[in-house]
Structure formats: C-alpha cells, structure tokens
Subunit: 212 residues, 2 copies
DNA sequence: CAAACATACTGAACACTGTTCAACAAAACA
DNA sequence: TGTTTTGTTGAACAGTGTTCAGTATGTTTG
C-alpha cells in the first residue's frame, strides 16, 4: 500500500514542521515564553494537534534539545582534521565555548535546564550527552596514550575538564559573570574564557614547567 | 509616635512571615511549583497581600536568594580559623561544594536561575555574589602573596577556580552527572568532586612536581 | 464621643498557561 | 454508497501571576 507510506511521510512532515516552529519560537522568545499556543499559532494549527505528535511539553523540549546537539556536533566536525591530540583537545574546548556563547538558549536547554533530563523518555540513556562526553574522553585518552598528559583515569580527567568549561559557559549564560567580574575585564570575557581553558589544559601537561 | 513604630514593626514581621513561608514552600516543592497562592495559603493570607510586601514574584525570589547567601556565609565562618592560605582555599572549595550538594534548590536559585539576576532591584549591584567572590579573590591573593601559588591576576585565577567548582556543582544539580559518568564512579561522585578541586588547586602550586 | 481619614487586606476578575476529551470532518476502505 | 478509520479541533478544566475596586479596621481629628 502506497497510501500508508504517504501518510507516514505526511505525519513525519508535520512533526518536523511543529519542531521547526518550536525551535524558532524557542530561540526568539526564550525558554519561559515558549508556549504550546504560540507554536500552534505559528504553523496555523490547533494547540491540540501538537499533542498528537508530542506526548507533552517536556517531550517537545526534549526534541528541541536533540536539535541543539545536532548543531553542536556540526560545530565539532572540523576537529577530525586535527592530528595532534593535545591541539584537538584545546580546540574542542574552544568550539564547545563557541557553541555555548553563540547559542545560549540552546546550551541552556541542553546542559542547564533540569527538566530536560527528568523528561528523558522511558528513563532511557542520555544518548546525546553520552556521545558528546564520549568524544571528550576519547581525546583525553589520546593525549594520555601519546604521553602528553598524565592522568589515572581518562574519564575522571575528562569530567574535570568538562566541568571547568561548562562552569565558564554556565556563569556567562546565567548572567553571573558580568555582575562579579571587574569592569576592565568585561570586554575580554570571551577571550578570557578561552585562555582559562588553555591554562587549565596546559597545567595537565607532563612537560609543564613549574612557574614563579 | 509609638504607633507608627509598632506598625512598622508589624509590617516587618509580616514580611518576614511571608518570606519564611516562601522559603519553606520553595524548599519543599521546588522552584517550578512555588506559587504565590501556595505561599498565601500557608500563612492564611490572601495572595494579594503578598504584593503589598513584594513587588512581584521575582522580588520575592530575590529575597529567598538572599536567605540562601546568608546560609552560605554561615557555612564559611569556620574558614576564618584556618591560618594557612592554601589550606583555606582548599577548604573553601570543599565548603562551597558541601553547601551546593546539601542545598541544591537554593544553589539553583542563587547561581543558576537567570531570572534571579534579571530581577535585580533597580539594576543595582549583585551584593551577595560580589561578597562571596570577593572572599575567594582574597584567599587566592593570600596564596599568591605567600608564594604558594603563581598567577598574573588573582581575580582571573579566582574566576577560573569558581567556574570549575561551579561547573561540578551545576552538572550534579542539573542532573547531567549521573547520566554520563560510569556506573562504578557514581557512588563516589561527591568524593570525586572534592578530589577534582584539590587536583586543580594543587596544579597551580609553584612547588608542583611534574608527573609521569 | 462621633465623624473623617488612612491603612491593611481581600474577592473577583483578567489574561495567560498545559492538557484533555468529546465532537467533527475528511479520507480510505468495503 | 455506506462504514470505518484517521486527523483535527473547540471548548473546557485547573492552574498560574497580577491588578483593581471595594471593604473593614484602627487611628486621628473635630
């Protein structure tokens, strides 16, 4: 039956349409002001229709969060061209922050909103997060294997690195940065963030020279 | 006039009563489920009354956030007994994480909810945050003065440290930790966090020995 | 003491929100 | 053509933050 095929295709198209509208409203109006009705208005459907394609608002936001990860992985593509593991690690930190600063709303949804996790369908694994973290662990492991960095556990060190970079992104996105940092540093906050990541990563190098 | 004094006192008392109820509801039901009506019910007043003591919900939440900082500063009191600057710095990281893990809802409000910042009355300074960060800068400066740590700028290093510690707290509170870390590490996450802070702080020591 | 006033408080309403369910129209099948 | 399945929706429910006219109480004044 070609009919069912077409219907399934149409269903998928409407789902995609809803999701696209949701992303648009989300990026335009922010997390708190993204309402089901606003999305429905944008695509000229009834709010009720959205519930035929997404279980509830949490599921819809989970789908937006997935779109965010797609975009982030796209940011990471050039990393595969970088042969040197340490250089790759530095660059991954830079790209990560780039993504966070350029897409604060999405980053918020992906890594900061707790609701996004609680609504994980069927208590399944957090695939997107695991994939992103996994690639970081791999890069750290590569640095260890190449004897550029020393660490007991690649996973533990990767977590430390992630936490540091995420902390910077978080403080910036949640607006705590500008309220605390001195005026003369504010214009260079983005640069500062990169330097901090570099500094931290370099401090794990085996060949690091004691300072002072 | 003793009458006005009494009235002012009563007004202050009711404000305190509302705030106490707000904190209670907030800690019990969490950020999203804290409604003006629930708070009003708890103290048996009309919801409208709350608006006579707080401009809006954001102002009320800002007051709760201030209570959070009071509690946090209380946690930090023992630090003044610690003479060694580096030991003090390590302990501050530990106490910070202690507070975050023990009061996740409050930490969320204080350092993660962006609304808390946007509602800063009259676009004034973030006094509480500045005080907390200031004490960290002081401790870092003390380490630099004692030639235990080397850094170009105490403020920049303090910010790096804060970002790292905050990153760990944030990932844990926003539920990203458990979804990404290996099973065999999960039981030791709290310990892990402390060890990571120690590791990072120690890597800034002048006398640090190259590893490997 | 009684009238005038000021203050503290509230009920009802408005404009939203997420979500559900019975009703309906249209397409697919017999 | 009649029946069944499918896709869509309007109306409603329970909840939210917030406002405003009105009330009731306590204080001050004539």
């Amino acid at each position: 039956m070609g009919v069912n095929d077409r219907k399934e295709r149409e269903k998928e198209e409407l789902r995609a349409l809803i999701l696209a509208a949701a992303v648009e409203v989300f990026l335009q109006k922010g997390f708190d002001n993204t309402s089901i009705r606003a999305i429905a208005d944008k695509i000229e459907y009834s709010p009720t229709t959205i519930y035929l394609y997404f279980k509830d608002k949490a599921a819809l936001f989970h789908a937006i969060h997935q779109e965010g990860f797609k975009l982030m992985f796209h940011h990471f593509v050039p990393l595969q061209q970088v042969a040197d593991p340490f250089e790759r690690l530095l660059l991954q930190g830079r790209y990560y922050l780039d993504f966070a600063f350029q897409n604060p709303e999405l980053y918020d949804l992906m890594f900061l909103q707790p609701g996004t996790m609680e609504a994980l369908p069927d208590d399944l694994e957090w695939m997107e997060g695991n994939a992103a973290f996994g690639s970081l662990v791999q890069n750290v492991q590569a640095c260890i294997d190449a004897r550029i960095i020393w660490a007991e556990s690649a996973e533990v060190l990767a977590f430390t690195i992630w936490a540091s970079v995420h902390g910077i992104a978080s403080l910036q996105i949640q607006k705590r940065c500008n309220k605390v940092i001195s005026d003369h540093l504010k214009p260079h906050i983005a640069t500062l963030a990169f330097e901090q990541v570099n500094l931290m990563l370099k401090s794990f190098r085996i060949d690091r020279v004691p300072r002072g």
